[in-house]
Symmetry: C2
Subunit: 381 residues, 2 copies
Amino acid sequence: MTAGVNGQGSTRGRVLDVIRAAGPVSRVEVSQATGLAQASVTEAVKELLADDFVREVGRGRSTGGRPRTLLALNPSGGYAIGAQLGWSRSAVVLADLTGTVVASATEDGADGRPPESIVAGLAEDIARMRGIADAPVLGLGLAVPGPIDTPHGTAVQLPESSPWADFSLTHALEETTGLRVVLDNDATAVAVGEYWTGGSDSSGVFATVYMEIGIGAGIIVGGAPFRGISGNAGEMGHISVDMAGPPCHCGNRGCVELFAAPAATEARYASVTGRSLSYAQIAEAAERGEPEALGVVSTSAEALAAALVSFANVVDPDRILLAGPGFAHAADVYVDTIQRRLDAAMFVRRTHRIAVRTAGSSHLTGALGAASLVLHDLVTP
Amino acid sequence: MTAGVNGQGSTRGRVLDVIRAAGPVSRVEVSQATGLAQASVTEAVKELLADDFVREVGRGRSTGGRPRTLLALNPSGGYAIGAQLGWSRSAVVLADLTGTVVASATEDGADGRPPESIVAGLAEDIARMRGIADAPVLGLGLAVPGPIDTPHGTAVQLPESSPWADFSLTHALEETTGLRVVLDNDATAVAVGEYWTGGSDSSGVFATVYMEIGIGAGIIVGGAPFRGISGNAGEMGHISVDMAGPPCHCGNRGCVELFAAPAATEARYASVTGRSLSYAQIAEAAERGEPEALGVVSTSAEALAAALVSFANVVDPDRILLAGPGFAHAADVYVDTIQRRLDAAMFVRRTHRIAVRTAGSSHLTGALGAASLVLHDLVTP
């Protein structure tokens, strides 16, 4: 479980990834982009056409010789189902090969519900989506809040008393659905989703910061997730921005989540105004320019920016994407604050700049990321 | 410039890396360890024997058939020169293929000296060492404090007024010595040195924390350095442990270096005791149990531990090694404090533990790391 590199994976996988990122694209261009011999590319394309993952989509402009046939992903060549299990809400999507959501469902979250009832609920949605798919469903991607225990397919929840602690969600869903299940933490899943659907090629190092209840980051290196030794890399919500700060549920002190996560912003808003609004309401008010709302959202953004400077000094990415429901409103406040702070304070700013922008922020972003885990397996199993 | 993965690199490189890590080892064992066909292993070994990088070192115990010939690195099959440019001191070593130092020299550091005079001084030492080597010198590894600008071979020093800012040390040394020069930051070089000489195989994710004047980390993933997008990953000395803390020369606030680096410990000791000692003297006194010295070293260790919990939550390594002159004394204080803090506060502690231990702490550790950059190129160019 290590970071991938540009060009990692099978010939077939590398060819498919270039067609995904650059398509419509000719065989010759695929050969140039991968450095693979044209014969190998032709062979791999033949297989991918036979599997229906790729289709020919007409011809490019002639470059003297006869115009070249262009290749693209075949959207309906296969499907992936993605399920995100959140605390307050869960979501399930059916995504086609290009990562377009063709069906979705939302469920209550895990909070207070026993694992068995969650599995039953997800299984129902999954069954319905398999009915909709008019091509093979390649697998089920599962995104959960970290930490995870990949070998055991377990969502290792804190506090340790949680009924989830020793429950293998992966195995339970494999048994119930008969589908191959790919488990990852939600932030990594969202980063893979951004990679798959955002047209990224396999160069570069980027991080996707995912904010819902908590905050985490997914790191993509050379086209593959950087997972660390246990699949738990990127837990940047638990970067401490104050080593003498208040205790966090995780056991650490002064974690950035305590200052930047939605619950912190709600509490700060209530203490400033005496009114208690949901984070979504506060962020909307900030978007409208309501001063107190803008003030508390800015405080959250400043804390997140401080943690991201430390994060950037360790990971050295070329871009940082902000994703998830936490950025559905007032995203500009976060983007501007983080960009300004990185430009002023990151250690390697004289060598390169980090571009900050937003990515998917719908309540389906996590589930689409989960589905993308399955699609990405076609490239680097 | 991305993280490597287990099994990355050429057949020849993978075979050499297994012989380095596991030797003396038989061809059959190499084939098992790499998953390569025995024919490919035999072919690669033939080349490596011809190049003198590997030698046959007798026969293993018979497993029924005739005993198998064992292979090991040939120490004198080639040499690498490593130069570390530090602020207070520079060092140059000649290392054999196994990473054993066969000659060394120390020089004044870069502080206050113009780049040209540094290059002249290093070139003299390098020439002397080439005279000692009785086999080809494969290249010159160069370790400098980060940040670096690899494409330009530049040590990008802060403050920006530094005469080093636009000086290409790589090109200057290439011209003067005629050797191929491999530049990296000192912490990454030390991590590669630990990988090469520490018998690590290419599985796992580890970080080497290097403390001299400053603090940085080198991250090894699947046998290759994780460099980020610009070769500046792992700058953990500039993880902020207090977002409202004092300004750091880097432009950030509350960087752990301000609380944990030798200069901070010297200042704290002076303010506590009214006596001014060097960090080495303070650390020695702490080792002897002198209470005030132990107190200020513990304060440094606590700050470093706080930053390393954040670091571990982002990188998810399986072990952390403490290396460099900063850990030459009172290393136990650092190891114990960091281990305790990780065990209590790291986010994924229920999934796995991180082992903390010391590695090389001599004033040649950085230069040996630099030489290892050249040796490691034999495995993953």
